[in-house]
């Protein structure tokens, strides 16, 4: 049984009703629970949970310090290419957008690697658009061989592959993957993905299963917040992470909590996800899954990131560019989206230290 079956068998209408029915007493019970269950998770995500936000934040902070200590892992994304055959209505890489498209040569990858490694980072996340012909598995494997000289661990956030594809990446030294489902609600997913292979909802949803089965060490999931009801999407994301942790106990599961950002094409999000909502989501995740990693990207602005540090986040990006090869050449394209936090690795590390947190550069 894959997560597709789990999600299909979950009554989302009942979940929506549970949000409305949840009381503050339910939230307090969830906070006191040793092993919060689905019903507790729903209560924590509910409007009643929003009224107990401080209590949730305190519990999330305690659990994070207990399980992860006062330490935050740093990584940075490297965009290898922006070719894409998809037509996602909210994405800057949409195939119909008239942007400069390119893919880094292996020499350029090495130049970027040198630049990033000089900041002290040891973890790198590789990204491409969905263009299997140009940004192929073999191309990613070639890049990994170049990057292995500079980094202790390499992860990918690329289009969904079959299990053999993930096995090939693992062989090349890539052992982590992140897959944003974008939208878990299938009916809402389809109109946002009108064309290209990404329209295959199920193939994308089951990609983390295939990466786990191939032997990946770290697997991350996430919904792009702003595309559909955030509470339902948060609930589905938590279920996905929980399912993966149970089905593949040897895999380190993490959750990303991205909110949609302005991008080429000017898509306007349908749903507003406020800072308070984001805090509630992160705290609820931490309480529901005390040992799961939570990743916070530079989509969020500096002041907010500094505060979210204490509430459950375990991994943050630094020195970010969403342009293809934006660091070494100085060239830049519009990028996949606009980032909000352009602080360097050194600036981020100094912020962690000033808040009593240890920046962790190497953890594998």
């Amino acid at each position: 049984m894959s997560f597709y079956d789990v999600l299909k068998s979950t009554d989302m209408a009942a979940a929506a009703s549970a949000f409305e029915a949840a009381t503050e007493a339910d939230v307090l019970r969830a906070l006191a629970s040793e092993r919060p269950n689905r019903a507790d998770f729903l209560a924590l995500l509910s409007p009643a949970g929003a009224r107990q936000l401080e209590a949730m934040a305190r519990r999330a902070h305690e659990l994070t310090v207990q399980h992860f200590g006062r330490a935050i892992h740093l990584f940075t994304p490297l965009y290898l290419a922006n070719h894409c055959v998809n037509r996602c209505v909210y994405c800057g890489f949409n195939t119909h957008h008239d942007i400069y498209r390119r893919q880094l040569s292996l020499e350029e990858v090495e130049a970027e690697a040198r630049c990033i490694a000089s900041t002290g980072l040891k973890h790198i996340l590789l990204l491409t658009g969905e263009a299997p012909k140009t940004s192929s598995v073999e191309y990613m494997a070639d890049c990994a061989r170049v990057l292995a000289k500079y980094f202790a661990s390499i992860s990918v956030e690329v289009y969904p592959l079959d299990q053999a594809g993930y096995a090939r990446l693992l062989e090349a030294g890539i052992d982590g993957m992140t897959m944003f489902q974008e939208v878990y609600d299938e009916a809402a997913y389809l109109p946002l993905h009108p064309g290209g292979p990404k329209r295959d909802y199920r193939f994308r949803l089951e990609a983390p299963d295939r990466a786990c089965a191939a032997g990946f060490r770290q697997v991350g999931v996430g919904a792009l917040l702003g595309l559909h009801d955030w509470r339902l999407e948060a609930f589905s994301t938590g279920l996905h992470a929980d399912y993966l942790q149970s089905a593949y106990p040897s895999v380190e599961v993490s959750v990303s909590v991205p909110r949609i950002r302005p991008q080429t094409g000017g898509f306007q999000p349908k749903v507003e996800v406020t800072d308070r909502d984001l805090v509630q989501y992160i705290a609820a995740l931490r309480i529901f899954m005390p040992r799961a990693g939570v990743t916070l990207s530079s989509r969020e602005r500096p002041g907010l990131r500094d505060n979210l540090l204490r509430l459950g986040v375990t991994r943050m990006s630094a020195g970010v560019s969403t342009s293809v090869g934006g660091r070494a050449s100085g060239q830049s394209d519009p990028g996949q989206f606009e980032i909000s936090d352009d602080r360097s690795v050194a600036e981020m590390a100094a912020m962690f230290t000033s808040q009593g947190y240890q920046p962790v550069y190497k953890d594998w």
Partner: protein, 260 residues
């Protein structure tokens, strides 16, 4: 008479081992070691970065300490062996704490893989300490494979829940001829003291110290608690009785020794 613990040919006067994860800054490590009196510190090889200068955790380990690299992150015996060899090649010495975990929900160790890794590493001359789920049969296999010490957990790692596995640990202390070091789950000095009173050879603590409001103060408290528990064990506590001694014993009519 001095009371020392010998592991891998090293004589230890402190029976508290310290973990090095979860600190807000690695610069706390020397103060924690000093305040606690600990002589052994475990460091995850995955965190060691010889190129990182002052950011490298090893730069903060006191020269006099015994470094016990651990294989945190290993999911198989093969990975644990690879990590241990890397540590030795990086100059971390011959001690290794084998930690093989295939369960990211409770972080419970995989005893089977640990036995396999122990066999290989002990044969290569490592001083192997095995982090394990308390189980007598598995402990025996580890000893047969060449473990210098066995380290059963008191509760799942990082939980601060105390000595939940008390009975299993007690049996291992009675039955195994190697030092038993209670590792993981100990949340309070009183629990560390309890483990020592039971006859544990040593206690390893990390989260309870690192997540304390004052890690150095907590380290000192643990150092004292472990020493106190050891002294109590050596002193041989009196028997515990369920009943108060009756002032008019039922056998008093017999006279003589039977009724005291």
């Amino acid at each position: 008479m001095s009371d020392t613990l010998t592991i891998g040919g090293r004589e230890l006067t402190s029976r508290l081992f310290i973990g090095s994860g979860k600190y807000s800054s690695n610069t706390l490590i020397p103060a924690v070691m000093e305040a606690s009196g600990a002589q052994v510190i475990t460091v995850a090889v995955r965190r060691v970065d010889p190129e990182a200068g002052q950011e490298n955790i090893l730069a903060h380990v006191p020269k006099s300490a015994i470094l016990m690299p651990n294989t945190s992150g290993a999911r198989t015996a093969q990975e644990a062996v690879r990590i241990a060899r890397l540590a030795r090649a990086a100059g971390c010495g011959d001690w290794v704490k084998i930690e093989v975990i295939n369960d990211n929900r409770y972080l419970l160790p995989d005893n089977f893989e640990t036995v396999k890794a122990t066999e290989i590493l002990a044969a290569e001359g490592f001083t192997v300490l095995c982090y394990m789920s308390p189980d007598l049969a598995a402990g025996r296999r580890m000893v047969e494979a060449g473990a210098a010490a066995v380290m059963p957990l008191g509760a799942p790692i990082g939980t601060n829940r105390g000595l939940k596995t008390r009975e299993m640990v007690r049996i291992m202390i009675e039955e195994l001829d190697v030092p038993i070091v209670v590792d993981a789950g100990i949340g309070r000095p009183s629990e560390a003291c309890e483990a020592m009173e039971m006859g544990a050879a040593a206690v390893l603590v990390n989260t309870a110290v690192a997540s304390a409001a004052d890690p150095v103060g907590m380290a000192r408290a643990f150092g004292r608690a472990v020493a106190a528990g050891r002294e109590a064990w050596l002193a041989g506590p009196g028997a515990v009785s369920e009943l108060a001694r009756a002032s008019s014993p039922l056998t008093g009519f017999l006279g003589g020794i039977s009724g005291e």
